[in-house]
Each structure stands twice: as C-alpha cells, then as structure tokens.
C-alpha cells in the first residue's frame, strides 16, 4: 500500500523521466536540457493559471455567501441546461477578455504600456522556479540562493507596476502606481525580515533544505514545522500580513482601490492586458503563499507523521495547504475594509517592522537556549517575549471611537 502511494508521490517525476526517455539517443545535449526545462515548466504553467481561474470563481462564490448572496451560478456548458454550479464562469470571462478591444490611450507611452503586463507576469512566474512543490519536485534547486532569488525576482514586480502607472498618462493610474510603490517597498522589509528568522535557524537559503529541516519529529508524531515555534508562529502571521500587502490583497488593496482611484495602476488597461494583470496578481499571491508554506508550514510535509497522512502524495499536501491559505485570504477579503494610506504606512513602520526585529532577536534566543533550557520553559519564555511587545505596540492601533460631531456649513 505504502509503496503504491510512494509511486503516486513520485508520479510527476516519473512521468517526466518517461517522456525524456522518448528522446532519441543521438539528441544533442542542449536540446535535452531544453526539453527537460519545457517539461518542467509546462505543469507549472498549467496548474497555477488553472488554479487562478478556479480561484476567481470560488472567490466570487465565497464572497457572495459571506454577503448572504448566492454568487455566480449560471455559466455552465453553453447551449445546454447544465450549469456546473457556475464553474464555467472563468472560461466565459477568459473568452470575453480575449475578444475585447485593446484600448491604448493616445497620450500613453505605447512601448512601456505594452511591456508593463509582460514585465509583471514574467518575474511572478520566475518565482515559481525555486518553490519545492513536492518531494524532489523543485524546478530549479538553488542551494546557495533559493530564497534570495525569490525575493530578488519578486521585488521587480514593483518596477512593472510603476511602468503601468506611469505609461498610462492617467492621474488615477499614476496615483495607484505611487501608492503601490510606497506600499510594496514598505512591506518588503517586514516580509524579508520575517523570513530571515527561518534562515537564521536553518542556516540555509535553499528552500528544499528549509523544508527538509522541518521534517524532524516532536513527541513521535508532530512534525517540526517552524509554525510550532513561538518565533515561527508570530513570524508566519507577520509574513502573511506583509504578503497580503505585497500581493495587493484586501485590506491592503489601496493601489487598485475601486471606490477611490478606479482600478489604480491598471485603469488604462483593457482586454487581455487587463487579464494578464489580474492573472499576475493572483499568481503573485499564490507564490507568496507557497513561500509561506515552505518557510513556516513544512512545505510538502504532512502535519502529523502517522501512516495514512504520510501516504498522501507530497504535492497534494503542498496544493492543499496552498488552497487553505487562498481560502483564508478570500475570507479576509470578505471581512476587512480597506485601510487608509496613513494607516497602512503607520502599520508597516510602527508595528510590523519592530515586531519583525523583535522576532529576529527571539529567534536568536530560541537558538542559543536550545541546550540550556528545556522546551516547556523555552517555549513560554520566547512566546512571552513576543506577546508583550505585540500588546504594547498594538495599543496605538486600536480603534478609538469618539462621538463624531457633524458640522453643517
């Protein structure tokens, strides 16, 4: 039984080897590597955009239910009465954006305007190359620079966002782009600092090695996920907050605030370019969630090291955790209102940044005390060292309700 599941686990890898074996023996070396790369990229390009498509429907249905509506449930198979619970919606949306007119403003910088969506999508797709999706399933294993590569490539999305906003020659686009730059630069710091704790503890930048480091077992069954340590727990939530801001998700969706600045930096994009922005945004979110899973949630490892859970293929675990995080983000979107720009900045610099710095210190302490203090003493101590500053720093951000006085002119 376990062997069968092990085969299922290695199925994508086996499939690739099988296809590679079909190449004739006399194939030149460069062609082999090209075919190998294409075979690795294709499933990523198939799975994650499909996941994006399904997420758009699930998000709309979920938000509908949160707002006591039904959500999209009409589009199914055309010319029949089969509705598929509305899951044909994304195909209709895709066709619509493909055949829509592509309007470019007359005053726009046409080259930059054209390049911006491409320059956004490519780095986002590149971030997937270092994520370990399963056991020995990492497209590009960079033992020295995995995490660094992710952040370096991911940070270049800011440039393309600004390209879009600037080249549109539209004040709302520019406002959106300025907001996006301010927000993404501010939140990049807590994002990187919160992931840095993991690097400190594991001593490696390789994402596969980080997943491996979480495979140790506590009490015989509980995996050694970083989430189960005090610095990991706090770090994970700091990471999620910063990731939501990086991905322009509610409550940090100021760069594209519909009620304020139309659609922000992609106001002047229509048709398929708009769809690419939409796609890149969601793929960016998935990549961020994937990184969070890798760093804190044990990557493709099951939560408990007991038999039926370990049989489930590792890539299923990764996709399952990813789906859970996506659901969490949809839930948050249905709950939280949008922040104001000053609140956003204050939250980044006055709360997230100090918390991540304190978290670094606590992670260091956790590492240094590993031999001198037993776990049951070390855990509460480190947790208290994080909870007290959380409470102190958080006091300034609590809603202060005062009776509002209305003045009429």
């Amino acid at each position: 039984m376990a062997e069968l599941f092990a085969k299922l686990d290695a199925l994508p890898v086996t499939l690739k080897h099988l296809l590679m074996g079909l190449l004739p023996g006399a194939t030149p070396e460069w062609l082999v590597s090209v075919v190998s790369a294409v075979l690795t990229i294709t499933p990523i390009l198939a799975v994650f955009p499909l996941m994006f498509a399904l997420t758009t429907v699930i998000e709309r249905k979920g938000l509908g239910r949160i707002q006591n509506r039904i959500g999209p449930n009409r589009v199914g198979i055309p010319l029949t009465d089969i509705r598929l619970y509305g899951f044909g919606q994304f195909i209709a949306d895709g066709i619509k954006s493909l055949i829509k007119e592509d309007v470019v403003p007359r005053a726009a910088d046409k080259v930059v305007h054209f390049l911006a969506p491409i320059a956004l999508l490519i780095p986002v797709l590149l971030t997937y190359s270092v994520l370990p999706f399963g056991k020995s399933m990492v497209p590009l294993d960079l033992p020295q620079t995995g995490l660094l590569f992710f952040f370096a490539v991911g940070a270049s999305t800011e440039l393309s966002v600004f390209m879009a906003g600037w080249s549109s020659r539209n004040k709302y686009s520019l406002l959106g782009a300025m907001r996006a730059i301010a927000q993404m630069v501010s939140y990049e710091i807590p994002l990187i600092l919160s992931s840095l704790t993991v690097v400190m503890i594991t001593g490696t930048l390789s994402l596969t090695a980080i997943v491996q480091s979480q495979s140790g077992v506590h009490f015989g069954f509980l995996h050694n996920w970083h989430l189960f340590t005090p610095w990991g727990l706090v770090g994970f939530f700091l990471f999620l907050t910063a990731a939501a801001a990086e991905a322009n998700r509610t409550p940090f969706d100021l760069p594209e605030a519909e009620s304020e600045i139309i659609a922000g930096y992609f106001t002047e994009y229509s048709g398929f370019k708009f769809a690419i922005f939409f796609l890149a945004e969601y793929l960016g979110l998935f990549a961020m969630c994937g990184l969070g899973i890798t760093l804190f949630l044990g990557g493709w490892l099951p939560p408990l090291n007991i038999a039926p859970l370990t049989w489930i293929p590792s890539w299923c675990w990764f996709l399952g955790k990813l789906s859970a995080l996506i659901v969490l983000f949809i839930w948050l979107r249905g709950t939280l209102p949008r922040l104001r720009t000053d609140q956003l900045m204050a939250f980044a610099w006055k709360f997230l940044l100090p918390m991540t710095l304190i978290n670094l210190v606590v992670a260091a302490l956790w590492y240094l005390l590993r031999d001198s203090l037993p776990l049951y003493a070390r855990w509460p101590l480190c947790f208290a060292m994080l909870a007290v500053p959380y409470w102190l720093l958080g006091r300034g951000f609590e809603a202060k309700f005062t009776k509002r006085e209305y003045r009429y002119a």
């Binding site: 949160i66 006591n68 039904i70 839930w331 709950t335 709360f351 409470w391 958080g394 951000f397």
Partner: protein, 228 residues
C-alpha cells in the same frame, strides 16, 4: 488587544457564510426566471382595458370619453371615437373606442388614467415582463392587446376589483331604479291623463279624440330591457 476586532469580524463573516447554506432568513435571494414571488396586491405596471363579456371588443367598458387621454401626463394614450353608439353594461347607448393605443415606451405607470376614469374601464395590470423585440410597433399597445377581462382584474387586485364591482352594481341599481321610476311615473302620468281625458270626455260632447297614452310607449322601451 490588536487583532481581536479582526477575529470578531471573521467570526461574523463565517456565520454569514455557513448561515447562507441553511438559513433562509439569511439567504433571501430569489433566482428570478425560475423562481418567482407572487406580485403584491398593490403592484402596478401598465394599464389595461376592462371588458365584461366573452368577446373583448364588444364588452369594453370604455366609452371613448378621452378624459384619460387628456389627463395623461406624458401623453401616451391615443383614442379615436366611434361614429355609432352601442349599449353599455347598464344599457345606456354610448360611444366606444375604434382605436385605443398606449405607447409602452412613454407610459410612466402613474395610474392617473385609472383615477380619472368615471367608467371603471381602465385599470393597472401587474404584468412586468413587457420587453419586446420590435421597438417601434411592438411598444405601441393596441386595444386588442390592452383588453383584459374583469375576472383578470379580480384576480390581480381582489379588493380594488370588489370596490369597483360594488360601484358598478350601485350604478346599475340606480339605472334600474330610475327606469322603474320612469315607467311608474309614465304609467301614473298616463293613468292621470286617462282619468283626466275620461273626465273631459264625460264633460265634453261625445266624439272628442283622446290623446293621452301616446308619450308612454318610447320611454319604457330601451332603458329597462337590457339592464337585467
């Protein structure tokens, strides 16, 4: 503490999410083309012409008085009077509309035509699916399309229709009473005239011509007979 508000909010949205699957009070959506709510009694959409008989064109209550046409604020009613007359529900001879058109695209559903009509002949319908593929001819509704039976009116606006029927019954009763009174008055007048004539005959020399019963015959005829 910071974050408790977020957790409370998330609990609330989770309640909504779960509740929308089992609590009909939360999910009030009616999926319209398949599911429908019965229309409210005081709903109104577009006027129709009431008729009383099997043949809609013969039984139209409308007497082409053109009050509605004149009162209509957006001027969407167009009426052409008939040259001849026909008996109405209480047997009175009345004109009738040869043409009665309402422009659907102009009508603003104000119900003023209904309120000014003294003959209970134009009422508001609750039908709201009035879209049409022909935006010129199709939106000009003629009297054949407008005519709907009084039973239909009773069905869509029961209490209003009851009031209308009662008012008409009063009219009919009045007309009958008047006819009866007329007949009696005529008969009495005839009797009196006869008595007077007899008395005169007695007084005057034999051979004088009696002239009294002549006016009674046209008065009794058309007024009383169709009322039943």
């Amino acid at each position: 503490m910071l974050g408790t508000g977020i957790l409370k909010g998330m609990l609330e949205t989770a309640k909504n999410f779960a509740g929308s699957y089992h609590d009909p009070a939360r999910l009030t959506t009616v999926e319209y083309p398949e599911q429908r709510i019965a229309s409210k009694e005081n709903a109104r959409q577009f006027p129709f012409l009431v008729h009383d008989t099997e043949d809609p064109m013969k039984g139209l209550r409308c007497v082409a008085c053109q009050i509605c046409e004149k009162e209509c604020p957006p001027q969407c009613i167009y009426i052409v009077k008939s040259k001849d007359k026909r008996a109405d529900y209480k047997g009175q001879m009345q004109l009738y509309p040869v043409t009665f058109d309402i422009d659907l695209s102009v009508c603003m559903s104000c119900q003023i035509c209904v309120e000014v009509c003294p003959f209970e002949s134009i009422k508001m319908d609750t039908e709201f699916e009035l879209s049409n593929t022909d935006r010129f001819g199709g939106l000009l509704v003629n009297k054949h399309q407008l005519a709907k039976s009084n039973d239909h009116y009773r069905k869509i606006h029961p209490s209003e229709a009851a009031a209308s029927d009662a008012a008409l019954a009063v009219e009919v009763a009045k007309a009958q009473a008047k006819a009866k009174a007329d007949v009696e008055a005529k008969a009495k007048a005839a009797a009196e005239a006869k008595a007077k004539a007899d008395a005169a005959a007695a007084a005057t020399p034999v051979g004088a011509v009696p002239s009294a019963p002549q006016p009674s015959s046209p008065a009794t005829g058309p007024a009383a007979a169709p009322a039943a």
